[in-house]
C-alpha cells in the first residue's frame, strides 16, 4: 500500500473496478491509521491518494465523517493543494518542471515537444490512459536543469531525445 504521490500512477490499474463500498472501507481504514495524529487531514488524504492514485468523489464526505470535520473543510483542503488530484491519472505521470532554472536551460522546447508527442496539454491524460502530464514548480534539480519526474523518478539534463526514451 505504500507508494508515493506524486507518482502513484502505476498502481491505478489494480484499483479500477473497486466498488463504492470497498473504497469507503479503505478510506475508513486509512482514517483509522492516522486518527491519533494531531492535524491528521493531510496524512489521511495522502494515504488515500497513495492507495487509489487520486481522491475519488466520496473522499470529502467519508473523511469528514471519520475525522469529525465538515465536508466543506475537507473539500477546501483537497482543492487547495496542487498535488491532490480529483480525477484518476494515467498509468504514469510525467511532471515537468516549469521553474526559472529550467527555463534558463530551455525547458520551453522540451514542453512543446512533450505536448506534441503525447498530444495533450498540462493537467490532461492521454486517450490510452498511459500518461498524464503535470507542471511542477521545482524538483530541486536546478543544477541539472531541465528536470522532469516520471512518477517518482527524477531525471536531469533532459533533452527531447532522452524524454522520448523515457516515454517509449
Amino acid at each position: 500500500m505504500k507508494i508515493w504521490s506524486p507518482g502513484s500512477g502505476r498502481r491505478i490499474a489494480a484499483f479500477t473496478g473497486w466498488s463504492m463500498g470497498e473504497t469507503d472501507q479503505l478510506i475508513s481504514q486509512i482514517c483509522g491509521e492516522h486518527r491519533h495524529r494531531e492535524g491528521a487531514l493531510l496524512p489521511v488524504l495522502h494515504g488515500i491518494q497513495d492507495a487509489l492514485g487520486f481522491l475519488p468523489p466520496e473522499t470529502a464526505g467519508r473523511v469528514a465523517e471519520e475525522l469529525n470535520l465538515s465536508r466543506a473543510e475537507v473539500h477546501g483542503v483537497i482543492s487547495f493543494y496542487h498535488l491532490f488530484r480529483q480525477h484518476p491519472p494515467g498509468q504514469r505521470t510525467l511532471y515537468i518542471c516549469r521553474s526559472e532554472a529550467c527555463q534558463a536551460m530551455g525547458n520551453g522546447p522540451l514542453i512543446d515537444h512533450v505536448r506534441e508527442k503525447l498530444g495533450i496539454d498540462f493537467h490532461q491524460t492521454t486517450g490510452d490512459r498511459r500518461f498524464s502530464l503535470e507542471p511542477i514548480y521545482c524538483l530541486g534539480n536546478c543544477a541539472c536543469a531541465p528536470a522532469v519526474m516520471l512518477d517518482d523518478e527524477l531525471h536531469g539534463r533532459v533533452t527531447s531525445d532522452r524524454l522520448d526514451e523515457l516515454l517509449d
Binding site: L83, N141, D152
Partner: protein
C-alpha cells in the same frame, strides 16, 4: 585535523568505490555507474552528493592520497577508471585527482555540509564516527539558556529567506509561557534554484535531526515536525529511515541518550503549494487546513502550531546548529562578513557551467560566484541576468554583479539573498516572458487571502500580455507599475508583496524586453 579526516584515513584497509545516491546524481545516471562498479566486483558505497553537480555522476575511489574523483562518468567508462583490484587510473582524462584537494571543493568552507557526500546518509555509525551527536551531547550538559546564548553568539540567521536571528527566535520561544511547545522544520524548499535542503536531507539526515533535538532542548519543546515538500520523494524516504534509526538508538524519544530529556519527531508530507513555505501557512497546513497565511501578531514563536509557542526554522538553519554546539558560537562567527555571519550555502543553477552547491563564507561577490565558482554560463554566451532568492527575487543585470553576497548588500540593490540560490540566464533569455512568469506564478500560488495578490497577479499577467502584444504599451507599462505598487503595499505576505520585484526589475533593467 578534523575528525572527518581521521575517520576517512582509517578506511584504507580495503579500497572502496563511492557513487552518490543523491537524487540529482541519480537523475543523471549515478545508478548506472554504480551497477558498473558492482559488475567489477568492487565494494560500493552510496553517500550523498558533494554538490559538484556538473561532475555528476561522480565516482570516487579510495587511495593512499585519499579519495580520487572521476566525473562526469558514463557506466561504460567505469572499467577504465578503476581496475578489478580497486586501483584508480590516475591517467584517465576524467580523473580529478584527490577530491578533497580539487579546487572547487577545497576552496569551500564546509561546516553545515561537512559530511554530505562523504558518509552514507542513513548509517548512524558513520555519523557517530564523524563527530555526529557531539553537539547534542554538549547541549545535554547545558541548560536551555546556555544553548540559546551559544546560538546567539554564533550570529546565525535563518537560512530560509527572512534571515531573522535564530538565537533571538529561540529566546522568544524559551521565554514564552506554555507546557507544550514545538519545533517545526521548514523543508518546503520551494524556490527555484535551491536544492540545499534536499541535498542535506538526502546526504546527512542525522545532522538535521540533531539540530532539531538541540532546538527542542533549548526551548523546552518536546515534539518536532518536519514539513517536507512532496516533490522530494527520496529526501522523504531518507529522513524517514533516519528518524526511525535515531529513535531506535535512543537519540529520539522519551529519554534522549539516557538524559531523561524527551524529544520526538514526525515527518509530514506537503502537497505542492508554494505558499506553504511561508511559516504561518505551513503551520495551518500541519494543522490539516488550507495553507492560508495568518495575520501577525501573534508571532508563531508565541502562538504557533496548535496555538502553542513554536520554533520554525529552515533545514539549513537547523542543520548548522550541531556544528555551532560542537565547535562553539565564537568559532562559527569568525566566518562571514558584516552582519552575515558564518557560511552561505550558495547554490548555482540554471545556465551556469558549474552548477552545484558551494558552502562559502558570506561576502564574495555575485561575479566571483558566477564567473569564479560557476565558470560563467553553460552556453558560453554572455550573461544577461541573475535571479537571486527564488521566484520573488529581482533580476539582477550584469552591472549589478559586483555586489557582495550578503543579506544587506543584496537588499541595497533591491534584490535578496533568500535561501541562497542563484539562477543564471544567458542573452537568449526573454525577460518579458520571465516577468510574465513571475506574475503567473503568483496568481497560481496565491493563498487567496488578500485581493491585491489574488486578483492583482491575474491582472498583472494580462497587462504583461497586452504590453507584449504591443497594445498601448506606454499606458499599460504605467498600469503595470501601479499594479505592482498596490501589490507591494497591500499584500499580507511576501508572495504578493514581493512577486512584483522581478517584474519591476525587468521594467527597470531590461526595458527593451517589456
Amino acid at each position: 585535523m578534523s575528525l572527518l579526516t581521521v575517520w576517512m584515513s582509517s578506511l584504507t584497509d580495503q579500497s572502496r568505490v563511492y557513487v552518490p545516491a543523491d537524487s540529482a546524481a541519480r537523475s543523471v545516471g549515478a545508478d548506472g555507474v554504480a551497477r558498473s562498479v558492482e559488475e567489477l566486483g568492487l565494494p560500493l558505497k552510496r553517500p550523498g552528493s558533494r554538490g559538484l553537480y556538473w561532475l555528476e555522476p561522480l565516482l570516487e575511489v579510495d587511495s593512499e592520497q585519499g579519495r580520487i574523483g572521476f566525473g562526469p562518468l558514463r557506466p561504460e567508462e567505469v572499467h577504465g577508471v578503476v581496475d578489478e583490484t580497486g586501483r584508480p587510473n590516475l591517467e584517465h582524462p576524467r580523473c580529478l585527482g584527490p577530491i578533497e584537494r580539487f579546487e572547487p571543493l577545497s576552496c569551500q568552507q564546509r561546516l553545515t555540509f561537512a559530511r554530505t557526500g562523504i558518509i552514507e546518509p542513513t548509517c548512524i555509525d558513520q555519523y557517530l564516527a564523524t563527530a555526529g551527536f557531539t553537539g547534542l551531547r554538549r547541549a545535554l550538559e547545558l541548560g536551555p539558556q546556555d544553548i540559546v546564548d551559544e546560538i546567539k553568539l554564533s550570529g546565525l540567521r535563518g537560512r530560509g529567506g527572512a534571515a531573522f536571528p535564530t538565537g533571538i527566535k529561540w529566546q522568544t520561544v524559551l521565554d514564552a509561557p506554555g507546557d507544550r511547545k514545538f519545533v517545526v522544520c521548514n523543508a518546503d524548499e520551494g524556490d527555484s534554484g535551491t536544492f540545499a535542503d534536499r541535498m542535506l536531507m538526502e546526504g546527512d539526515p542525522y545532522c538535521l535531526i540533531e539540530g532539531m533535538i538541540i532546538a527542542g532542548l533549548a526551548t523546552c519543546a518536546e515534539q518536532g515536525y518536519i514539513y517536507l515538500r512532496a516533490e522530494y520523494p527520496q529526501a522523504y524516504r531518507t529522513m524517514q529511515a533516519a528518524v526511525s534509526t535515531a529513535r531506535a538508538h535512543g537519540f529520539l524519544g522519551g529519554d534522549i541518550c539516557g538524559s531523561g530529556r524527551r524529544f520526538d519527531l514526525e515527518l509530514r508530507k506537503a502537497a505542492g503549494a508554494y505558499i506553504c513555505g511561508e511559516e504561518t501557512a505551513m503551520l495551518e497546513s500541519l494543522e490539516g487546513k488550507r495553507g492560508v497565511v495568518r495575520f501577525r501578531p501573534p508571532l508563531p514563536a508565541l502562538k504557533g502550531l496548535f496555538g502553542e509557542p513554536t520554533v520554525v526554522n529552515n533545514v539549513i538553519s537547523l542543520a548548522t546548529v550541531p556544528v555551532i554546539m560542537e565547535r562553539g558560537g565564537e568559532f562559527y562567527r569568525e566566518f562571514g562578513s558584516g552582519d552575515s555571519r558564518g557560511t552561505l550555502t550558495l547554490q548555482l543553477a540554471g545556465n551556469v557551467q558549474r552548477g552545484g552547491l558551494f558552502e562559502v563564507p558570506f561576502g564574495l561577490t555575485l561575479r566571483e560566484a558566477i564567473e569564479g565558482l560557476g565558470g560563467g554560463t553553460a552556453s558560453s554566451r554572455p550573461l544577461r541576468a541573475v535571479q537571486a532568492g527564488g521566484p520573488l527575487g529581482a533580476f539582477i543585470p550584469e552591472s549589478g554583479l559586483d555586489t557582495p553576497l550578503d543579506y544587506e548588500s543584496l537588499k541595497s540593490i533591491g534584490a535578496m539573498l533568500g535561501h541562497g540560490g542563484l539562477v543564471v540566464f544567458d542573452d537568449t533569455a526573454d525577460m518579458g516572458a520571465l516577468a510574465r512568469f513571475a506574475m503567473e506564478f503568483c496568481a497560481i500560488e496565491s493563498c487567496g487571502k488578500c485581493t491585491p495578490c489574488r486578483i492583482g497577479a491575474v491582472r498583472g499577467t494580462e497587462v504583461i500580455d497586452r504590453i507584449r502584444a504591443g497594445e498601448d504599451p506606454d499606458a499599460n507599462r504605467q498600469l503595470l507599475r501601479d499594479l505592482c505598487d498596490t501589490m507591494v503595499e497591500g499584500s499580507l505576505c511576501a508572495l504578493g508583496g514581493m512577486a512584483p520585484y522581478p517584474v519591476l526589475s525587468v521594467l527597470d533593467h531590461f526595458p527593451e524586453d517589456l
